[in-house]
Each structure stands twice: as C-alpha cells, then as structure tokens.
Symmetry: C2
Subunit: 348 residues, 2 copies
C-alpha cells in the first residue's frame, strides 16, 4: 500500500510500504476513505520537532473496516468508522472518566505501540488500529459523500475545538472569545455557537478565515492582536471581559491574550499544545481566572458530534479548503505551511 | 477606641485611635464582637511583605451595627453582621457574577478606600464599613454565643476553603485531596465533606491539625510531603489520583504536589496566595489538569454558609484553638507564628 512518511523537515513522501495485518486479536484494519494534514504535523515539517529518522505521519482518518481480529466485538467488516487522533481502550479509569487522551493503554498513530511495534499513520491507504473496540466509532449506515469532510474533522480539530469550549465551561448566552483562527480555533467558534453562546468574538487576521468563522457563528471579528487586540476585545465587552475564552494556538502571546480578555471568574479552555507558555499565576489568582483543557479526548465527543454532523447541526468540514489526492500529499503540506490553505483533505 | 497596628515585622501593638464615623452615606459603623488573626497577617509579621509605616491590620470580624449612613437600606442599628475579608458593592458586573473579590469599587480592610482615606482594620473595637449594603451579611436574630466562632470563620478561612472546593468542582462521591493543614486547608476538608465527597484525604503533618481534619470529615491522613507524599496519595487512589484537589498553601511545592496527585481531567482549586509558584503547563496539558480559584469571593458564600452554621450543618469555628482578649493581640500573633496555635480568636 501507499503511505506517507516524513523523512526530514520539509521532506514528505508517499511510499510503498507493506500492507498492515491483524497482529493482536483486538486490532482492526481500516481502508482509509479520507485523511488530512494537521497543524501539528507542521511542527516536524518546519523542524520545530526533531525528525531523527523517517517515520509514518498523519493521525486523522475515516474509512471502512476491512478486517477485524477475533476479539473485536463492536465492529464488522464494511463498517464506516471515525478514528480519533489517539487510540485508547475506552475501559481504563481515565477513559471511563472521559479523558481517553490519558488512556493507560493508548497512544499516538505513527508512533510505536505498547509492545514496541511501529504503528501506521493516518495519511495512507490502510491503517492497523489497535484496541479497535475502544478506539473506533462507527456509523450505522454508509455516510453521504457530503458528510465525509465533517466526519473527518471530528478526528481531531472539531473534537479539539469542542474540548476547548467544554473546558472553558461555555454556557448558553455567554460572551465567548476564541483566540486563534486555525482549523481548531474555527471549530472552537462552531462549538461555542452550537453550545448556545450569545456572542462569539473570533480573533482572526485572515479574511478567508474570518469568513469561515462567521459561517460557524462568530458574531464579532477582532483582527488586531497583542495588547491592541486585548484592548479591542475589552472594548467590545464594556471593559468586563469574556465569560469564557478558548485558547487555540498554544504560544505565550496567545495564552497571555486569552487570560487578559477573560473576565474575573472565567476559565480559559486551552487546547493548543503549549510552546513557550508561562502562566501568570499571580494575575490569574487576583482575578480568579482559571485554565483548563489540554490534549483533547476526541474519542469522548465522537458519538455526540457524529450525530450532530449527520443531523446537519454542525458542518465542521468547511475548514477543509484544499482537497487533494493522497498522491499530492507533499503539496498538501506545502499549501498549509505557506498558509495558502487552512487545512488539506487527502483522498487515497 | 482601641485598634491593632503593625509597626514593623514582629511589632504588633494595640493603641488608642479616633473612633470611626460615617463618612459616606453608604457606610456603617460596626462594633466588633469577635475578630481573629489570619495566616496572611503573618506575612508582614514575618517580614515577608514590607511594612513601610505603621498601619491598621486584621480583616475578619463579626459584630453589631452601631450606626448607618442615610443611604444604607438593608441594615439597621443593632443587626448582627458578618464582614467578608474584602468590602464590595455587590452590584458591579464582577459582584453580580459572584466574584466580589474583583469588585470595581471594593478593596481591603486596613488599606485606603477609593478616595484615598484610610480604612479601619478588623482587629479593633469599631470598624467603618464602606459600601455596607453590599459588604455586610446580617442575621435575623442575635446568634448564640456558641455560633460566634463559626460565623467569624466565614469572614475568610471557611469562605476561602469553600471556594477551593467550588473551584475544584468537588462532586458527591468524589475522592478529594486537600494540600495544607492551616485553617484554610482544614476548612477545605470541611467544605469537601459538606459537598458530599466520598473520601477526603488530608495532607497534614501536625497531630493537632490532623484531629481537626478528622473531625471535619477527613477519611484519610497523609503525613508525608513532597515526592513521598505524592507517592502515598497515588497509592491510596490505585495510582489514578484524586477527582478534585484543594491547594490551600500557595508555595511552589504545595502546588506541585497538588497537580501531581490530581487525576487526568481533574481541577486543582487553589486559594493560597501564590508565593514562588510556577505552573507546569506542559504536564498540565498532557494530563488535562486544570487550575482554578484565586482570591476567594467570601461574600458570595456568606448567606449559604451562615445558614449552614446556624443549622448546625458545619462548625468551622473549631479552627480556633486560642481565644484571647483583644488586649493580648500580640500574643495571638506570636502563638500562630510559633505554630502553637492554628488560629487565634480575639474578643474586644
């Protein structure tokens, strides 16, 4: 089969690799229908994370079950499934508490499993899925073609944006600020809107992303950033600040802005992996601004968000503005790296 | 009247000062029935906060209204009242959202008011209370003598311990860890227990405090600290960690322990003013451990906790293990500084 490997920063290749097979009897093999490139795939692509040797890449995919191990109970060959960006057993204490991203037996696609065997990435034709019963969420019927991008978005960006809104404790009628206009930030806008926020202020400098944010329910757009952006948001909220803030970037500046625009007693839900973030604990203490969130348990939200997509209540697939065959995966990375695309969808 | 002043670290004096009078028509003058010494009063006493010039001190008191300004609506002369550790208007956006500690018009006892006029401290015979309608919470009837220590505890330590439990989102049946066995930590134990926690693990090294913790509902006591204490708590929770953690100290080590013993997805409710705390954001992110809390809005909780005290549901007054006349205030500080007392109650 064909699968994507990253060889070094900037060096993405689609290569022939052996087809995966069932190794553990809890495994499934899934034929990928659609995959995509994540903002976090750009960290090694840009050299921000090391690439010591060539490895599989990609952690978002939907597809059809092609084979299951003897112990798999909830899936049948032919099922259409959504994979969250991590695999998990869904039975350990952390999973049952809804934090599948901390599963004691789980891990990341493209990494090694608990027995040290390499795992497939999502940007390929087939994927061996460990702990398939715990990891995959299936659909009763094959989805319409139009739903596939939105179902794929649940793998990571929509689950992550949703987690930011859950962690920030967005409530009906709230004024919500979303810091970051990447795919996750845009999905955060959609999540806050779906949860009934009265006002959603999207901080976004890019016109194409502002348009998506507005289509996702943003009522206001603030195009400034840093101290000026904070001032502009406070102006929009009569100096009080937002009831809930979604931090969807992960830099020191974005977190600083998120905390500054939160009203006293509000929570910043953060889902951007922190790079150079220092939390200003004294300022947080004085104003009772909390921070919550982290690596999103996308698995937790899949059933609810799947039903929302199929019912037409949310269409997070609008974050995909570039649709390429898997053969052009390298161009998919380049387009995102150069900010020509918000997010690239790949079809094997 | 007599009032307590701090002249320099270690130098506490009861002195004659002018009686307060109504200055603004929203003021009340309260004759103090009971006051006390706070752990945070020890910061200037120990030279950890500067004392550039002599100033009034004390921020916890209960008493009887002696005089009210023309604009005061909710209080009458003779009312028994509880003062929270900050004054607030209870009408601004932060107050109405329940964060009276961020009141736009409020501030601290013993400091200066918004017009720059000095304010009385709580450790005296009389106190001018600005924004009296917003600040003071009254009782319908005069309380029994036995309830006075518990009502006084609501001024600060019980409201603060309660806030830690609210911020940590303690739920019925939870396993809760309380870091810190000062008066606030002990009140945190009581709060978690009152909220229906199934198990309350008190981290306490002092036998006298362990006994109070147990009387407040602690089911387990861990007397170790640092890495050993973290290990012992994790052992007690099958390696999973606590559903909610109350951080009631404010040092780097106590916060580090609090985060280490929190299970994935849990929240650390912190109320100890942070001294040398750095939040380990990457570790928090990976395990979805949030931090929330801060300067407690004691005013928010006063009506509910007052009713709980009068109904006998909670008796936080047990934190007072030294009861002195106001004339011996200096000994009250010394006893707490030398850890001979958990908390000193003072009677003018």
């Amino acid at each position: 089969m064909k699968a994507t490997l990253i060889h070094a920063p900037g060096d993405i290749r689609l290569e022939d690799v052996p087809d995966p097979t069932i190794i553990d009897q809890g495994d499934a093999v899934v034929r990928v229908v659609a995959a995509c490139v994540c903002g976090s795939d750009l960290w090694p692509y840009r050299g921000e994370n090391p690439v010591p040797e060539p490895r599989r890449i990609g952690h978002e995919f939907v597809g059809v079950v092609e084979e299951v191990g003897r112990d798999v109970r909830s899936l049948r060959v032919g099922d259409f499934v959504i994979a969250p960006f991590m695999y998990s057993d869904n039975t350990c204490p952390h999973c049952t508490a809804g934090i599948q991203s901390a599963c004691v037996a789980g891990g990341f696609w493209g990494d090694h499993d608990r027995e040290g065997r390499p795992l497939d990435g999502g940007q390929g034709e087939l994927v061996r899925v460990p702990l398939a019963d715990g990891t995959l969420v299936s659909l009763r019927d094959q989805p319409d073609e139009e739903h596939i991008p939105s179902l794929l978005a649940l793998s990571d960006v929509m689950g992550t944006g949703w987690h930011a809104a859950v962690a920030a404790q967005v409530r009906e009628g709230d004024t919500v600020v979303v810091v970051g206009d990447g795919a996750v930030g845009l999905c955060g806008v959609l999540a806050a809107s779906r949860m009934g926020a009265g006002r959603v202020i999207a901080m976004s400098r890019h016109e194409s992303r502002q348009r998506v944010a507005q289509s996702f329910g943003a009522t206001d757009v603030v195009a400034t950033r840093g101290a000026e952006g904070e001032h502009d948001v406070l102006d929009l909220t009569d100096g009080v600040g937002a009831d809930a803030v979604l931090e969807c970037v992960g830099t020191g500046q974005s977190m600083s802005t998120a905390i500054a625009v939160a009203r006293a007693g509000a929570t910043v839900g953060y889902v951007g992996a922190p790079h150079g973030v220092e939390l200003p604990v004294r300022a947080m203490f004085n104003r009772n601004v909390g921070v919550a969130g982290g690596l999103a348990p996308a698995r937790q939200y899949l059933p609810e968000l799947r039903d929302d997509v199929l019912a037409g209540a949310i269409s997070p697939g609008a974050v995909f503005d570039l649709d390429l065959p898997l053969a052009e995966v390298a161009e998919g990375y380049r387009a995102m790296d150069e900010r020509r695309a918000i997010k690239t969808l790949l079809r094997p």
